[in-house]
């Protein structure tokens, strides 16, 4: 058995791509396909098939989705690896290695400054281990429990005594959450399309020493307003919700979260100026919204290099497991010529690791 690899088009090879995705990842792939592969404002995806040369049907695929990024204060085009699937009968690592190497091609051809992958589990690291690559950073999930009943039932079992214990625990949980008031700060929900003030904020905070995704109005509108899956969920769970923090009408920061079907809110993004005070206020506003809706918990995500770690801790969140590793690939092999030297910090949230 020998394998071949070929570049495919998300338009001409759409059905074959979808077939592979659906048989490996489930049925909901079609709704977001065009949005991810062809309607991304940063450009169309690159995709590859691996197939057995004796059978024309593909057995594995991978894609690279272009992402506008800020690296050390410079705007660059990076790429995020995704849609990486291999049919179970072909998980012998060989096809996956061919694909992983293919995802580096846009970097070698200078179409992308670098690419990164965010494997969520150790199995996803196998190809990188084989290629001798190490993670550049990791993204940790933080959790804040709001209601204890389900949590206690899971650990201690059901019983009549659970309700009074849970009530007492809930009171304690409520007291544990600090309250940081910031004078003159106004926090409100934001339901319109993202405007140019978000682009200005993104540019103004294109900080040196950091690696993060762009948050221009165009990027944010595509990510949070045009995602067809979240639109479809709008009636049930509310889709993405945005809170903005302003002072005297000036946008300082914003956060984006959504409510999962299990009653847990997930903070996808938290970005802005003077986060040490404004970010805390935004987190507390999210917690307040979730508490009013009787949600069970709030989750947040950030990489080790992000300043959000301190914010989550100050807001009462606790670090849990590693949600993903960040493995980056760049063209330069010589340490002195590296585009992503280890001195740069990865300021990733869930926004950067979601496909």
């Amino acid at each position: 058995m020998s394998f071949a690899i070929r570049r495919v088009s998300p338009i001409e090879d759409r059905q074959e791509l979808l077939d592979l995705l659906q048989r490996n990842l489930g049925a909901s792939q079609e709704r977001r396909f065009e949005w991810r592969h062809t309607r991304n404002p940063a450009g169309s995806s690159w995709s590859w098939f691996v197939y057995d040369q004796n059978h024309p049907a593909p057995v594995a695929m991978a894609s690279v989705f272009p992402r506008r990024m800020w690296v050390d204060g410079k705007a660059v085009l990076g790429g995020q690896v995704g849609d990486f699937v291999v049919d179970p009968s072909h998980r012998s690592l060989g096809p996956a290695l061919r694909l992983q190497r293919a995802t580096f091609e846009p970097v070698y051809s200078n179409a992308l400054a670098f690419c990164y992958d965010c494997p969520p589990h150790s199995q996803g690291m196998a190809t990188f281990v084989r290629l001798g690559m190490q993670p550049s950073d990791k993204v940790v999930r933080y959790a804040l429990l709001l209601r204890s009943e389900q949590f206690l039932e899971k650990r201690l079992g059901r019983g009549l005594w659970i309700k009074p214990v849970a009530r007492a625990a809930d009171l304690w949980l409520q007291m544990r959450i600090p309250n940081h008031r910031v004078p003159g700060l106004e926090i409100c929900t934001y339901e319109r399309a993202f405007g140019e003030e978000f682009t200005w904020l993104d540019k103004r905070l294109s900080t040196l020493n950091l690696i993060r995704a762009s948050r221009s109005a165009q990027d944010l509108n595509w990510r949070y307003r045009e995602d067809p899956l979240m639109h479809a969920q709008n009636g049930r769970t509310g889709g993405y919700r945005v809170l903005v923090a302003q002072r005297g009408g000036e946008l300082l920061a914003f956060t984006v979260f959504f409510v999962q079907s299990d009653g847990v809110a997930s903070i996808v993004d938290l970005f802005g100026d003077r986060l040490a005070e404004v970010g805390i206020a935004l987190l507390e506003a999210v917690i307040e919204v979730c508490r009013r809706q009787d949600l069970l918990a709030v989750h947040g995500f950030c990489s080790d290099g992000s300043e959000l770690n301190r914010l989550f801790i100050r807001a009462g969140f606790r670090p849990r497991e590693t949600a993903a590793c960040v493995v980056a690939h760049e063209k330069a092999k010589d340490a002195s010529a590296r585009f992503l030297p280890p001195t740069l910090r990865w300021a990733f949230t869930q926004m950067e690791i979601m496909i």
């Binding site: 058995m1 020998s2 394998f3 049919d87 179970p88 009968s89 072909h90 998980r91 012998s92 690592l93 060989g94 996956a96 290695l97 061919r98 150790s122 199995q123 996803g124 690291m125 196998a126 190809t127 281990v129 084989r130």
Partner: protein, 91 residues
């Protein structure tokens, strides 16, 4: 033939020791290892390391095909091929 048996039992005992799902079911020479959940991608790395060290062979990326790793029988024949014992097998 004796060497084939010894390679077989060595590989099989490594799989049973190293992979919990292989202990739950009685694996034979034809039990599918890939796709059945017995060996995942990280398990493949462990298995490749084991083959390289135990049989003094080098496994390159092009060798990592389902043909070579599908089951114990395929693994034995892959190791023999790598060790240059194909002609001994034919005898």
């Amino acid at each position: 033939m004796q060497q084939t048996d010894s390679i077989n039992s060595c590989i099989r005992s490594f799989i049973v020791r190293g992979f919990p799902r292989a202990r739950k079911r009685a694996i034979n020479d034809d039990t599918l290892l890939l796709g059945s959940g017995i060996i995942d991608s990280l398990g493949m790395l462990t298995l490749v390391d084991f083959l390289e060290q135990s049989f003094m062979i080098h496994v390159c990326d092009d060798d990592l095909t389902p043909d070579n790793f599908a089951n114990v029988k395929c693994l034995v024949s892959f190791v023999e091929k790598k060790k240059g014992r194909v002609e001994v097998l034919a005898e």
